[in-house]
Every structure is written in structure tokens, then in C-alpha cells.
């Protein structure tokens, strides 16, 4: 067995950094998109308009019963077919992540909305506010506040899941690490380093979540 040479990491840093940027950027956009679409799905499910509620619920249940990697594949092949032109693997992966995460965020949000006491809705109604005004000003702000820790936790899981984009040949952090590992023949060093980076990022995230939980408990 050869000696460890962590020097390859140093020389490959710019390349690895590009991969990490892609992972973080994808996570960030997918979280934002997922929350927006997830909120809409949730409002549709709770709207009381039956066809709308059924479609949204069907969507959430469908997405939640297939593996993420399959959704990524679908959209890699589907999106160009629908649009009639290639969109590049970054955008197809992003769309896949947003559509996939939205289903999970929608579930989190439904629980969050239901955690807001029913009396709050009555209070809004009794002053003459309409359904959407009540959601926008009374229910959602409270639901979001209750949900922030779980939303961040879901974001951490999403960050780890971005490593799946290697299947559509995107160069995320995991992929760039593998490339360096193989071309330089430094498997152990590179994978230890990659694990360390994932750990630091995700651990920081969960410490943040714990802090928020503690603060909200008081």
C-alpha cells in the first residue's frame, strides 16, 4: 500500500470547488423551488376544491412512491421531448429535484398548517377575512415558523441526494471527487476528504436546526 498523499487534494481544489458549487447551487435552487411548489400543492390539497385537492394529493403520493433517481432519469429524457430541444442536464436535474422535493415539502407543510390551532382560522373568518387572506396573513406565517427546523433538515437530505446527479453526467462534488480519485489513483485520500466535506456541511446544518429548536422551545 502506498503512502497517503493529501497533496492531490490541494492541487485539485479548484476542480473540486466547481463540483461543490454545483452541489450547493442545485440544493439552494431546489429548496426554494420545492418550497414554492410545495406550498401551492398544500394549498390545493387543503382548498376544499375537490378536483384540485385530488390532483395535488395524487401527485404527492405518486412522487413519494418512486425513487428520486428514477425521477431524475425521467426528466433527463422527458423534458427535451416535451420542449422539443435539449435543456442540458443541469436544468433537467433541477426540475426533477424541484418536482420531487415539492412532494416532501408539501407533506411537511400540511403537518405545519394543521399544527396551527383551528381557532386561528375562526378568528380570521369572524373578522371577515377571506380564505386566501387567512392563509397568507395568519396560517402560513405561523406554519412556516413551526416548520423551519424540518425544512432545513429536509434541505440537508436534499444536499446529500444531489450526489445522484452523476447519472445524468453532471459534475457535482461527489462526481468531481471520484474523477480526481480515479485519475490520480488516490482513492482513499479523496473519499476520506469527500466524506469530511459532506460531514462538515451537514453537521453544521443539523447544529443550526438544534439551535432553532432550542430557541423555539423557550
Amino acid at each position: 500500500m502506498t503512502d497517503f498523499d493529501f497533496g492531490v487534494i490541494w492541487t485539485s481544489l479548484p476542480f473540486l470547488w466547481e463540483g461543490l458549487q454545483l452541489s450547493l447551487w442545485l440544493t439552494f435552487l431546489a429548496v426554494i423551488g420545492g418550497i414554492v411548489l410545495g406550498t401551492l400543492l398544500t394549498l390545493a390539497r387543503l382548498s376544499g376544491i375537490l378536483p384540485l385537492a385530488l390532483i395535488a394529493a395524487g401527485y404527492v403520493n405518486l412522487i413519494r412512491s418512486v425513487p428520486l433517481i428514477l425521477v431524475i432519469f425521467w426528466f433527463y429524457f422527458l423534458v427535451p421531448l416535451v420542449l422539443g430541444r435539449p435543456v442540458g442536464s443541469f436544468y433537467s436535474a433541477l426540475i426533477a429535484f424541484v418536482l420531487f422535493e415539492a412532494a416532501y415539502y408539501s407533506e411537511i407543510m400540511r403537518a405545519g398548517i394543521q399544527s396551527v390551532a383551528k381557532g386561528q382560522k375562526f378568528a380570521g373568518q369572524s373578522t371577515g377575512l377571506g380564505y386566501w387572506q387567512i392563509q397568507r396573513h395568519i396560517i402560513l406565517p405561523q406554519a412556516f415558523r413551526n416548520m423551519i427546523p424540518i425544512l432545513v433538515t429536509q434541505g440537508i437530505i436534499l444536499f446529500q441526494d444531489t450526489s445522484l446527479v452523476f447519472v445524468v453526467s453532471l459534475r457535482d462534488f461527489m462526481t468531481t471527487s471520484s474523477i480526481v480519485a480515479r485519475t490520480e489513483g488516490r482513492l482513499v485520500e479523496m473519499y476520506v476528504f469527500a466524506a469530511l466535506v459532506y460531514f462538515v456541511i451537514c453537521f453544521t446544518g443539523s447544529v443550526l436546526v438544534k439551535r432553532m429548536r432550542d430557541r423555539m422551545a423557550t
Binding site: A123, S126, T127, G128
Partner: protein, 242 residues
């Protein structure tokens, strides 16, 4: 002002309200009492359409709450409601709690809404708390803010659902005082409460409910002086001995 005509309501197979009929005329104060689970909250929620009824009619100020196509939001804006657990919006300051519906429903300007909020906060004695969040106030203060939140909308009638039963004993009077004041000013009020002292002092009529039905509906003097039904006698002897 409020006309309740043969109202029945079911939760699934369970009949919560049984053929209830009563009226509240302008400037009248009516107290609703009865044992737990007798349907008092349900009845009062039906009066502003928070709960639908399956049979009968409720007419408020000439508008049929129970008819299809009635603009419930417009009607509710003129019916104030105060809840057992206050239901202030915890993420907003007192000022925002009082301004939200004024701006969104009555389309008042910010300045106008704030000045009305200040006026009514002053009336319930809480002017200095306008920038606080509900969580920073005591229960009695929160309930007074909740009353002010209804009053800023210039309601034609006020509904109260056990406004003091979630309060510590020493805070009950500060809330009742505000309600007595309102009654004296001629506000039309329908109040679910077990505070019989309040009933004797300001109520014109008392409605006694049991198992979803209105068992007694009489003037306050008659109700306390010689209740007709055994259930009401029983209820009064229990509650007045406390």
C-alpha cells in the same frame, strides 16, 4: 337583529342542535348557559356562519346567514366574535392584530386603522401595550385586546364564547368590566358564559340549553327567580353554590 329559526345541526349521526329558536333584538344582551356539551359554542358559531347548519334559518340584520350565496365574509365583518382562548395572532404585534382586518376587509388606510386601534385599546385600558406581542401579555390583557380587535370593525352585534373561562380568577373581572361597559353603551350582545353575576347584572334574557335544545328562554328575573325546568334548577343550584 339575530333571528334563529328552528335550527338543527348534526355532526355525522350526532345531533348537536335540536330545533333551536330564539331572537336577539337590537341593544339586547342575551346570556346563553347550560352544562358542558349542551351545544352553546356550536349555536354561537352558527350565528356568524363559522359552522353550517343543516336545518332552519339564521338571519342577522336582515341577511340570511344560512342561505346559499350569502356573502358570508361581508356579513361576518359586522359581527364581532370573542373566543374562549382569545385567538390573537401570536406572530403579530397588538397593533397588527387590530389593523389586519380593518385594512384587508374594510380597506381602511394604515393611518385610519392605527388611530382606531389606539382609540379602542385605550378604551380597554391597554394603550401602552400596542407594540407588544400577545405572548407578552397576561390572559386578561389578551382577552381585552381580542375584544378591541372586534370593536375596531364597528360591529352591529358582539358574540362571546366563554370569554372568561380560560382566565385565572383574578383576571376575570377586568374582562367582565369591559363587557359590562359595552352592554351599557347599548351594544347588542350574545354571551355564552357561566358568570351568573354578569348575567344578573346586564342580561335582558337568559337562554338555557341542554343536550342541544333550548330549554328555557326567559327574562333574567324570571330565569333566576323561578326556573321552570328541573334541568335549569339543577344547573343553577350547582353553579350558584360555587
Amino acid at each position: 337583529m339575530i333571528d334563529i329559526e328552528n335550527v338543527s345541526k348534526w355532526y355525522g349521526d350526532f345531533q348537536v342542535l335540536k330545533d333551536c329558536t330564539s331572537q336577539v333584538t337590537q341593544k339586547e344582551v342575551v346570556v346563553v348557559c347550560g352544562p358542558s356539551g349542551s351545544g352553546k359554542s356550536t349555536l354561537i358559531k352558527c350565528v356568524n356562519g363559522l359552522e353550517p347548519v343543516q336545518q332552519g334559518r339564521i338571519v342577522v340584520d336582515g341577511a340570511d346567514i344560512t342561505a346559499k350565496g350569502t356573502d358570508l365574509t361581508a356579513l361576518r365583518a359586522r359581527i364581532g366574535m370573542v373566543f374562549q382562548h382569545f385567538e390573537l395572532y401570536p406572530h403579530m404585534t397588538v397593533r397588527e392584530n387590530l389593523c389586519l382586518a380593518q385594512e384587508k376587509v374594510l380597506k381602511r388606510s394604515r393611518d385610519e386603522a392605527v388611530s382606531r386601534a389606539e382609540l379602542f385599546l385605550d378604551r380597554v385600558g391597554l394603550s401602552e401595550h400596542i407594540d407588544k406581542h400577545p405572548g407578552q401579555l397576561s390572559g386578561g390583557q389578551q382577552q381585552r385586546v381580542a375584544i378591541a380587535r372586534s370593536l375596531v370593525m364597528d360591529p352591529i352585534v358582539m358574540l362571546f364564547d366563554e370569554p372568561t373561562s380560560a382566565l385565572d380568577p383574578e383576571m376575570i373581572n377586568e374582562v367582565l368590566d369591559v363587557m359590562v361597559e359595552l352592554a351599557k353603551e347599548g351594544m347588542t350582545m350574545m354571551v355564552v358564559t357561566h358568570e351568573m353575576g354578569f348575567a344578573k347584572k346586564v342580561a335582558d334574557r337568559v337562554i338555557f340549553m341542554d343536550e342541544g335544545a333550548i330549554v328555557e328562554d326567559r327574562s333574567t328575573e324570571d330565569f333566576f327567580g323561578n326556573p321552570e325546568s328541573d334541568r335549569a334548577k339543577d344547573f343553577l343550584s350547582k353553579i350558584l353554590n360555587h
